[in-house]
Chain length 164, copies 2
Amino acid sequence: MTTKDFGAREGEQAVELPTKPDAGVYFIGRIHTPWKERKDCPRNARGSDAVCTVVLDERYRAGLKDVETCTHLVLLYWMDKAPRNLVLQVPGHYGAQHGTFALRSPARPNPIAMSVVRLIGIEDGTLSVVGLDCLDGTPLLDIKPYFASTDSVPEAVVGWHRRD
Amino acid sequence: MTTKDFGAREGEQAVELPTKPDAGVYFIGRIHTPWKERKDCPRNARGSDAVCTVVLDERYRAGLKDVETCTHLVLLYWMDKAPRNLVLQVPGHYGAQHGTFALRSPARPNPIAMSVVRLIGIEDGTLSVVGLDCLDGTPLLDIKPYFASTDSVPEAVVGWHRRD
């Protein structure tokens, strides 16, 4: 193994990934945001009020029926620019080592991001939403209705985040 | 196309999927629940208080550092028993037609489920959690910390669900 295998920063740890994937995903559309480079992206999804657009491929558009009745949606998307082999990371803005599964970092075995967004409107298979922090052109994997009854936990705490 | 291509129920509509996937996912562990068949699963994730277990593969376990400080987690998992080509569906318990992206049905182009769970404890790479409704043996894709600041929206409404 080279130094690179252990990640770019001291305190990071990489693992050897399986030789082949277990299943395949389709990119069903693209997300368009104002941010062309990683350094321009807001720190997190509440860091900007920018209206972003989600363009669903023609083939899937019938699946949007009734989505316009939702105030909020869950979007899943593919963060294909990040390494997938890190299990311990030292994010620059925290400066401390954390496990990958305690972070929302794009670097993870399956680089699937989850964002809760507010729906502004839908026209011709294009959704206008607020609440994203990803790069322009990010591939879309899924759109789901956000149910407060199962998805909202106002009292949830991430203990390490309070301490850092 | 045969009738089967249009789904099992009247009012359902299927599309032709791309001939090959755009990216691959790794199954990073397995979820164990009391439910061995689809008919036994609770209707949704608040339908049972059963403690379920999430067994992470050895190779990724270092990634759990600090996860124990989280009260709630987002789990992503792969619902590999459902058809991926339906864009309009008529779920049995609603009896009305809805778009796939207005539903949390396992039938969707990328069968990735998202559940918010309460963490009970972690031991030897196995997480005990409450808030799942999936089949025993379901493949795990990701574990994320749940941040109330970005993930909790108590006022969110799914309009069609109120009406049905």
